[in-house]
């Protein structure tokens, strides 16, 4: 069972417990929260369970990650009880599991992982690169736990305040870091290459540093209630789908940078240690295509979900609002990229450059629109 190119794979016999666990978790959540969940939210929950089943089917790391996040989050919930003040009084919460602390640990481990991966690359040490992977897993687990605990914290802020913490710029930065890291870890295992870790972690670290600045300088981490337009179950699917897109596009651009470096070095000196330590050009080219294809698929879904939501909240599925328009621009850009690659057979340096340019277009759609343009979608401002 190593050839899973298809979207869905049959459950492997040895992972039956994984499906049983997810089923149990879904039933558990439903039995506790069935009164407050509407039919859409229940569907999203079940859908999440099923997707996690598929993702974890052949990916032990993901299973471990999900279980660790669940255990840590449950411990945090238990320690919190109904008292938000426990974040200051309980040591475990204060130093590790309260959302702010968990997110701090995430930041530390992501930045550490970046250095470790590059260290491994420079000193050609497999062991160091493995440590980099471990750090990335730890960071991802802390980040996801932070989001989960924050979800609970929003509900503890007051009646009717609670919301899924992917609702403002601060929260989606954490989501971005976590999702990008998970996507990278998936491909790292699939292709058995760790030498790209530092490059991908670079963009994650940039997001982490921005997120830290945003929290310390602008108090962005404070939980604010949602404006009425954002109170919708659509949030739970639109935003994560979008960030799978953003994450893969960012990853593709970072691989693009690695590609260009290797291509430049190997022209000068094909036997250089760096070229040998890095994956082959064809592999990186393939990986770049894979991530852009995945991102494009999810970005398409996200944009369509956004249109469906807009039809419900703003009165029209398409308003040429700056955010919508920039989503279209990003989509058109990668559509052109994929056409070039799939039908014109372009590859190599130009496509790598284009993937890097794509990141800037994506970055503008993600951040620039909120910073420089006004519109309906101005939920996160700097």
């Amino acid at each position: 069972m190593t050839t899973n190119t298809e979207l869905m794979t049959k459950p492997a016999a040895h992972t039956w417990w994984w499906y049983a666990l997810l089923l149990l978790a879904t039933i558990g959540i439903l039995s506790v929260y069935h009164q407050v969940l509407d039919v859409y939210e229940v569907s999203i929950l079940i859908f999440t369970g099923i997707s996690m089943g598929f993702v974890g089917n052949n990916w032990p790391g993901f299973r471990g990650h999900a279980i660790a996040v669940a255990i840590l989050s449950l411990i945090a919930l238990q320690l919190y009880g109904t008292n938000l003040e426990a974040a200051e009084t309980n040591g475990l919460l204060k130093y590790m599991l309260a959302s702010q602390s968990a997110i701090m640990w995430m930041s530390v481990f992501f930045i550490a992982a970046t250095f470790t991966y590059f260290g491994g690359l420079i000193f050609r040490s497999d062991y160091t690169e493995k440590v980099g992977s471990a750090f990335t897993w730890i960071a991802t687990t802390f980040g996801m736990t932070g989001l989960m605990v924050r979800w609970r914290e929003t509900h503890m802020m007051g009646a009717d305040i609670g919301y899924i913490p992917v609702s403002n710029l601060y929260e989606v930065f954490i989501l971005f870091a976590v999702v990008t890291a998970l996507l990278y870890l998936f491909y790292e295992r699939r292709y058995q290459v760790r030498s790209l870790g530092g490059f991908v972690l670079l963009v994650i670290s940039a997001a982490v540093i921005f997120q830290l600045w945003y929290a310390f300088e602008r108090n962005a981490h404070e939980i604010q209630p949602l404006v009425p337009a954002l109170q919708s179950y659509w949030m739970k699917i639109h935003v994560p789908a979008n960030f799978i897109g953003y994450g893969t596009f960012a990853m593709a651009a970072m691989i693009g940078i690695a590609y260009l470096l290797v291509s430049w070095r190997s022209e000068k000196n094909p036997d250089s240690g760096f070229v040998k330590a890095m994956p082959s050009l064809t592999l990186m080219d393939d990986l770049m295509y894979k991530s852009i294809a995945l991102g494009f698929a999810f970005f398409t879904v996200a944009t369509i979900l956004g249109a469906l939501w807009a039809a419900e909240a703003w009165g029209g599925y398409w308003s040429w609002d700056p955010k919508e328009t920039w989503a279209l621009i990003v989509w058109l850009n990668y559509a052109a990229w994929l056409h070039m690659r799939m039908t014109k057979g372009w590859n190599g340096n130009p496509m790598a450059w284009w993937a890097i340019v794509g990141l800037f277009v994506t970055l503008f759609a993600f951040l620039g629109v909120n910073m420089f343009l006004s519109g309906l979608h101005s939920y996160g401002s700097l």
């Binding site: 190593t2 050839t3 899973n4 190119t5 298809e6 979207l7 007051g158 009717d160 305040i161 604010q224 209630p225 404006v227 009425p228 337009a229 109170q231 919708s232 592999l283 393939d286 894979k290 294809a293 995945l294 494009f296 698929a297 398409t300 879904v301 369509i304 249109a307 469906l308 039809a311 419900e312 909240a313 703003w314 009165g315 029209g316 599925y317 398409w318 040429w320 700056p322 328009t325 920039w326 279209l328 621009i329 058109l332 850009n333 559509a335 052109a336 056409h339 070039m340 799939m342 039908t343 014109k344 629109v369 343009l373 006004s374 519109g375």
Partner: protein, 672 residues
């Protein structure tokens, strides 16, 4: 637009070349990128703003140029639509061109391959078997089936058997779905766009209204009857009122669209979070429709629209719906008399007020029942406070100049004393400057007004000036009448000047009228005299005695003096105090009819399915050539894929080992 190349036809007619050009990859990619770049314009330049704003921004020349280019509504500009149309045509041509080949690829197992070409394929392997040809062929076909491959056996020359197998033909469906989806979405979007309106405008059937008219005055040529066309407009309906029209904003004007039913608004509610942030906006609507036996009620909220007869009714905004306000106008200067006057008015109402000789137009512009803002007396701006109701209004003079005011209903506390707050500004670009009117012990402005009235009471001022002058000159050995008259005159003038222009005017007087040499000595003396006069006038009031004066009273005097000193800049002859109100809100509804919506959604579904089929269902083919060799049965296995070559490498290597083991003899090594 795919790797399937069509044969080059020899007849290179003009239409054929055009067809090929329209379906070409180069054009498609150019269009995708052109569309992306053109879309940027509308996000950088704010769309559909009042045209006057654009004139100010760009100047008359560039305004004209940009208008001709349609940049103010770029997404309905002809050239933009032309790009879109070209993309739709290009995509359609592409689908038409490739459909036959695609359909064939999707279903057909390639049976006309030769042994030679199988051997030459990138993925190819051979082995031998001791079993009979038929057994091997059947076993292979079984194995292919297990792998999810559809297959067929064909007998080739020399009785060789070819098994052609395929899996993932639906991948080609992915191509068709994604490309047809783009066409479907664009066509659906066209139904819901304002293209029909544009056409009607070109034909001269409708005219966009740019004037601010009441509904009755809007001419027939700017009205749209109930029909099948899509639209998206908005209307503001006060509580208790109803509407059967909706305004469609177009460029710098609007059209009036009739609805097939009437929407009555019973109530509009805003709920708030503890920090004052709005939590929900809701409207209780009643729909009146002749088709209904009786009207029905429905509550809408943000994210929860009402859908009725193909019309979606959304909660989009709110405003004041003409709240009734009871106001007392307290006179601030002699123009407005001495007693407060009560006024009944409504938000958005204009009325002429006669204050003294001056007629002013009072325009009520807004009312808010509460204002939760950061508390200015706290350092942490997260400490919020309700400042109570407030209202804004404009006072327009006969020459048309207007100042805008913002008054709060309840006094605001500062340093333990209370004040009525009134903001004033000369233009919306400025921020409000606030006047603090001191509140007396009874919580009214009466004492302040009494005091300021006394300052204008010439007789009283004269008396007090006289007594002060007498006291001041008492130490002189003999009377100097000229000096007495002069001092008396000076004291009176100081008060008059102060009332007219505050301390500023007094300082101007000192600067301009005193000789340079003496100014430094005399200026403090003049200001001292003014303060003394102001205090004496205060002490002349009932209940205030210089011997028993309290600190509070002195502070009140200080505040009153400060306030009177700035009144000249306030500019209004009265202070309007809100005494009572009846809050009427108006709900802003957005009403849309999108007949193309389901078409677009269908296209979206196609697109999603198509994209996933395209990327994640690779089309894989396997061939097995089985023939009788000299001693053994010879097998050639070959394969190809159209996506994910790396995964196919692994797959093929695994399968060739597996199949060779299953069909070959164990002592025969599979070779490749």
């Amino acid at each position: 637009m795919s790797e399937v190349t069509t044969k080059d036809h020899s007849h290179n007619s003009y239409s054929r070349r055009l067809f090929l050009f329209l379906g070409s990859m180069e054009l498609a990619i150019t269009l995708l990128l052109t569309l992306a770049i053109a879309s940027v314009i509308g996000t950088v330049l704010q769309q559909n703003q009042p045209y006057a704003d654009y004139v100010i921004k760009f100047g008359p020349f560039w305004f004209e140029v940009f208008e001709q280019l349609g940049l103010y509504d770029v997404y309905s500009a002809l050239w933009f639509l032309a790009i879109l149309a070209l993309l739709v045509i290009s995509t359609s041509v592409c689908v038409i061109r490739h459909f036959p080949a695609m359909a064939k690829e999707m279903w057909q197992l390639r049976t006309n391959v030769q042994k030679k070409s199988l051997k030459a394929m990138h993925h190819s392997a051979q082995w031998q078997s001791n079993s009979s040809m038929a057994t091997v062929a059947n076993e292979l076909q079984q194995q292919f089936k297990k792998l999810g491959f559809r297959s067929r056996q064909t007998v080739k020359q020399d009785d060789a058997v070819l098994i052609s197998a395929m899996r993932g033909g639906m991948n080609r469906l992915g191509y068709l779905f994604t490309h047809i989806a783009i066409v479907v979405i664009c066509i659906g979007g066209l139904f819901d766009s304002n293209m029909p309106l544009k056409l009607a405008e070109w034909r001269g059937e409708i005219k966009i209204e740019t004037r601010d008219l009441s509904i009755r005055e809007i001419p027939a040529e700017s009205r749209l009857a109930v029909g099948g066309q899509g639209f998206r407009g908005s209307v503001s309906i006060p509580e208790g009122k109803a509407s059967e029209v909706v305004f469609l904003p177009i460029r710098d004007g609007y059209l009036l669209q009739a609805l097939p039913f009437r929407i009555e608004v019973k109530d509009f509610r805003i709920e708030h979070y503890p920090n004052g942030q709005p939590k929900s906006f809701e409207s209780d609507l009643v729909i009146h429709d002749d088709q209904l036996a009786e009207p029905f009620e429905s509550t809408i909220a943000v994210n929860h629209p009402l859908i009725y007869r193909g019309h979606s009714i959304y909660q989009s905004s709110f405003s004041d719906g003409g709240s009734s306000l009871s106001i007392d106008a307290w006179p601030l200067d002699s123009r407005a008399g001495t007693e407060p006057v009560s006024i009944q008015t409504k938000v958005f109402e204009n009325r002429q007020m006669l204050w003294g000789e001056e007629t002013m137009q009072l325009e009520m512009t807004s009312f808010r029942p509460f204002n939760i803002n950061p508390d200015p007396t706290e350092e942490d701006d997260r400490n919020l406070r309700d400042f109570g109701p407030n209202f804004t209004f404009k006072l327009r003079t006969e020459t048309g100049e207007a100042r805008e005011y913002e008054n709060y209903m309840f006094p605001v506390e500062r340093d333990g004393r209370e004040y009525f707050l009134s903001g004033v500004r000369n233009s919306p670009a400025e921020s409000f400057a606030y006047l603090y009117l001191p509140v007396d012990e009874d919580g009214t402005l009466q004492q302040f007004l009494n005091y300021s009235a006394l300052l204008r009471d010439e007789e009283l001022v004269s008396d007090i000036a006289n007594s002060m002058m007498t006291e001041a000159l008492a130490m002189l050995p003999e009377r100097d009448e000229a000096l007495e008259a002069s001092l008396q005159q000076t004291l009176e003038t100081l008060i008059t000047m102060f009332v007219r222009g505050g301390f500023d005017e007094v300082r101007d007087f000192i600067d301009n009228n005193l000789p340079d040499a003496e100014r430094d000595n005399l200026a403090p003396a003049y200001l001292g005299m003014l303060r003394e006069m102001l205090a004496r006038i205060y002490f002349s009031m009932d209940g205030i005695n210089p011997q028993t004066v309290t600190n509070d009273q002195l502070l009140f005097l200080q505040d009153s003096v400060d306030t009177i000193g700035t009144l000249s800049r306030y500019g209004s002859p009265v202070f309007l105090q809100l005494t009572d109100f009846e809050h009427v809100q108006s709900t802003g509804l957005q009403i849309a009819k999108a007949p193309g919506k389901n078409v677009v959604y269908f296209g979206c579904a196609l697109l999603i399915i198509g994209v996933f089929l395209l990327f994640y269902l690779p089309q894989r083919r396997l061939w097995a050539w089985v023939e009788q060799g000299a001693e053994h049965t010879e097998v050639i296995l070959a394969g190809s894929t159209n996506r994910n070559a790396r995964e196919f490498d692994t797959f093929f290597n695994e399968q060739k080992t597996d199949l060779a083991t299953k069909t070959g003899n164990s002592n025969l090594e599979p070779g490749s």
